[in-house]
C-alpha cells in the first residue's frame, strides 16, 4: 500500500477503481493492476473469516 487516501463516499459506477496492493493469505502480494490485465475483477469487501 503506497498511500493512505480515504474517500468520503463509496466509489460510483464509472469511477476509476482505486489501486491497491495487499498481502494474500495464500502467499505473495496481489495488486489490482496486475489482476485486471487478465480480465474483469470482482472485489468482495467483507470482515473476512473469523
Amino acid at each position: 500500500m503506497s498511500e493512505v487516501m480515504t474517500n468520503a463516499k463509496p466509489v460510483e459506477i464509472g469511477d476509476p477503481a482505486p489501486h491497491f496492493s495487499l498481502p494474500s493469505a495464500q502467499g505473495g502480494v496481489v495488486t489490482l493492476d496486475q489482476t485486471i490485465q487478465n480480465g474483469p475483477v470482482f472485489l468482495w469487501f467483507s470482515p473476512g473469516m473469523v
Binding site: 476509476p16 493469505a25 474483469p40 469487501f45 473476512g48
Partner: protein, 139 residues
C-alpha cells in the same frame, strides 16, 4: 462464501476473478490458508486502508459489537476443535473491521467500476445470477 464458491467456476469461465478483501490481520491470513480451502485470493486489509480508499466506512459501535459477538459465536467451535486460531488477535484489532460496510464491486479491464452493491451485513451478497449478468454486460 459458499454462494460465491458455487458461482466461481462460471465467473472464471468468463475470464473474471474474485478478490476477497477482508479485515483480517495479515498475520492470521496464512493460518486460514492452511486450515481452509480458500477458493479465491483472500487478501488481508487489516488496517482497512483499502476499504476506506473505496469509500467504505464503519457503521458505528453497535454494529461492531453485534458483528464481533456473531464472529465469536461462530468462531468458538472451530477454536475448541483446534481448526481455527484463537480469536484474541482478531478481536484485539478487529472491531473496526467488524463494523465496516460490505460491498461487491466489479472492475472492468479498463480499471473502471462497472457494478456496485453495498450492504451492511455479510448476508447481502448479490445473487450469482446478478454477478454473471454484470459480467455479461461488459462485453
Amino acid at each position: 462464501m459458499a454462494q460465491l464458491r458455487l458461482g466461481y467456476p462460471e465467473i472464471k469461465r468468463r475470464g473474471a476473478e474474485i478478490l476477497h478483501i477482508t479485515g483480517t490481520p495479515p498475520e492470521l491470513g496464512p493460518l486460514y490458508a492452511r486450515r481452509f480451502a480458500l477458493p479465491f485470493p483472500y487478501l488481508c486489509d487489516g488496517d482497512q486502508v483499502v476499504h476506506r480508499r473505496y469509500g467504505l466506512t464503519t457503521k458505528g459501535a453497535l454494529a461492531a459489537l453485534k458483528n464481533s459477538m456473531r464472529a465469536s459465536v461462530f468462531g468458538l467451535p472451530g477454536i475448541i476443535k483446534g481448526e481455527q486460531p484463537s480469536l484474541l488477535p482478531y478481536l484485539a484489532k478487529g472491531p473496526a473491521a467488524n463494523s465496516m460496510e460490505q460491498a461487491m464491486i466489479l472492475v472492468g479491464r479498463d480499471g473502471k467500476v462497472r457494478f456496485r452493491h453495498l450492504a451492511d451485513t455479510q448476508a447481502h451478497i448479490p445473487p450469482n445470477d446478478s454477478l454473471i449478468r454484470a459480467l455479461d454486460s461488459l462485453s
